[in-house]
């Protein structure tokens, strides 16, 4: 019995150490598609902005999450290498019309056909720390080390997702995801981080909406 209580207390502590984050998802479904089982989807990040980079780990998180549902997903690394240099930030098509220039190259078209790639999901945005406050001081002395204080910071995510049908050469869906969460770092001798997993929440929001889209489900907005 004591062991069970101990485990429950431990579980409660672990759960308490994860901060809360809120996610907002909006979708502009331009048209609905029925995904053929042979069609592959690639998830790519935009990297042409001057002040931010769509994080590689966010793009990889979305691709893994979408792939878990049985969709054929080609990773960003694989596609960028297979189509080098046509998806490098300097060259990558920003609009669907520019994709034609790339697709008109016989070598590119041949490679894409071999990979069964039909849909490209572009993710553009980033997660940033928007607010920081508090202070903490740490000291080390012979026989003693510890910290005292409190740190608070807020992370905000903003991602725009665009899905292209590269066979029909048109944009078929737009998704907008924003997430926000505040993390805390209280310290009385030992700092205890309570981290809001904002980027991870944004990843889940994006992946859920992409999966819902390819399943032909009605768009839903998670909280």
């Amino acid at each position: 019995m004591n062991r069970m209580i101990k485990d429950l207390v431990m579980l409660a502590c672990v759960m308490a150490l994860v901060g809360c984050s809120t996610v907002r998802v909006e979708e502009n479904r331009i048209e609905t598609v029925v995904l053929d089982s042979t069609d592959a989807v690639a998830v790519l990040g935009r990297r042409h902005g001057s002040s931010y980079n769509t994080e590689y780990d966010l793009v990889s998180c979305v691709a893994n999450d979408v792939g878990r549902d049985g969709l054929q997903v080609i990773s960003e690394t694989v596609l960028s290498d297979e189509l080098y240099p046509w998806l490098e930030p300097r060259i990558a098509p920003i609009k669907i019309e520019a994709m034609l220039y790339m697709m008109n190259r016989p070598t590119v078209r041949e490679r894409l056909n071999a990979m069964n790639l039909r849909y490209v999901v572009w993710v553009d945005g980033s997660t940033e720390t928007t607010d920081q406050s508090g202070s903490m001081s740490c000291a080390i002395a012979p026989g003693f080390a510890g910290c005292y204080g409190m740190g608070i910071w807020t992370n905000e995510s903003g991602y725009e997702v665009s899905i292209w049908d590269i066979e029909e050469n048109r944009e078929i869906d737009q998704i907008s995801v924003s997430a926000e969460g505040t993390s805390y770092l209280p310290a009385i001798i030992v700092p205890i981080p309570i981290i809001a997993r904002v980027q991870s929440s944004a990843c889940n929001g994006i992946a859920m909406q992409i999966k819902s889209y390819f399943k032909g489900e009605t768009g839903e907005t998670p909280n």
């Binding site: 990297r47 001057s50 002040s51 931010y52 980079n53 994080e55 590689y56 780990d57 960028s80 290498d81 297979e82 189509l83 080098y84 240099p85 046509w86 490098e88 930030p89 300097r90 060259i91 190259r105 016989p106 070598t107 590119v108 490679r111 980033s126 940033e128 720390t129």
Partner: protein
């Protein structure tokens, strides 16, 4: 810090010409040494990466590619490339207003024909950036930025070379199409 030297072969239609590239040891083994102690990076081993991307890109653009450590006395290829690194710089997130680490490099590539006549001395740049992530080491984000910059160098050569007036004129003389 050592930068990866594994880069993809570009997906291109090739020019129907043979090419050569002179990669001297000082270029292939180039190491950038940081003179300031407060910038975090002590050195960047860039040589293998820049030699690899040039080999891959030129190999992907021309039907054959010969590599030389020094300029040969007699040239047995249609076009010869001699790259030089002119400048390498970086900016840490703390030095800019944005949370990205940026890397720049500037190269000059002397291009000559089979008779050794200079076609052009072309300047080409490379740029890469990577985002600063929670708990990630400076070495890893720096390595990522340099990897992106080296890939960008390849992309810039593929995109920019056919637009260089000297090279374009040489291609016209050969009766070739403008882009691979």
């Amino acid at each position: 810090m050592v930068v990866t030297d594994e880069y993809p072969i570009p997906l291109l239609e090739k020019y129907p010409y043979s090419a050569g590239v002179v990669i001297p040891p000082e270029f292939a083994n180039y190491i950038y040494e940081e003179s300031r102690d407060d910038r975090g990076m002590k050195s960047v081993d860039l040589g293998a990466a820049q030699a690899a991307i040039l080999g891959n890109v030129l190999g992907g653009m021309f039907t054959t590619l010969e590599q030389y450590e020094s300029r040969p006395e007699s040239i047995n290829v249609d076009v010869m490339f001699e790259p030089r690194l002119e400048d390498f710089q970086y900016a840490l997130p703390a030095e800019t207003s944005v949370e990205v680490l940026e890397v720049w490099a500037k190269y000059s590539i002397r291009i000559s024909d089979s008779a050794g006549r200079e076609i052009t001395d072309w300047a080409v740049t490379a740029y890469g950036k990577s985002d600063q992530r929670f708990m990630s080491s400076r070495g890893s984000i720096f390595g990522e930025a340099v990897r992106v910059a080296v890939r960008d160098l390849g992309a810039n050569i593929i995109l920019g070379l056919p637009r260089d007036i000297g090279f374009k004129s040489w291609l016209d003389d050969q009766g070739a199409e403008l882009s691979p």
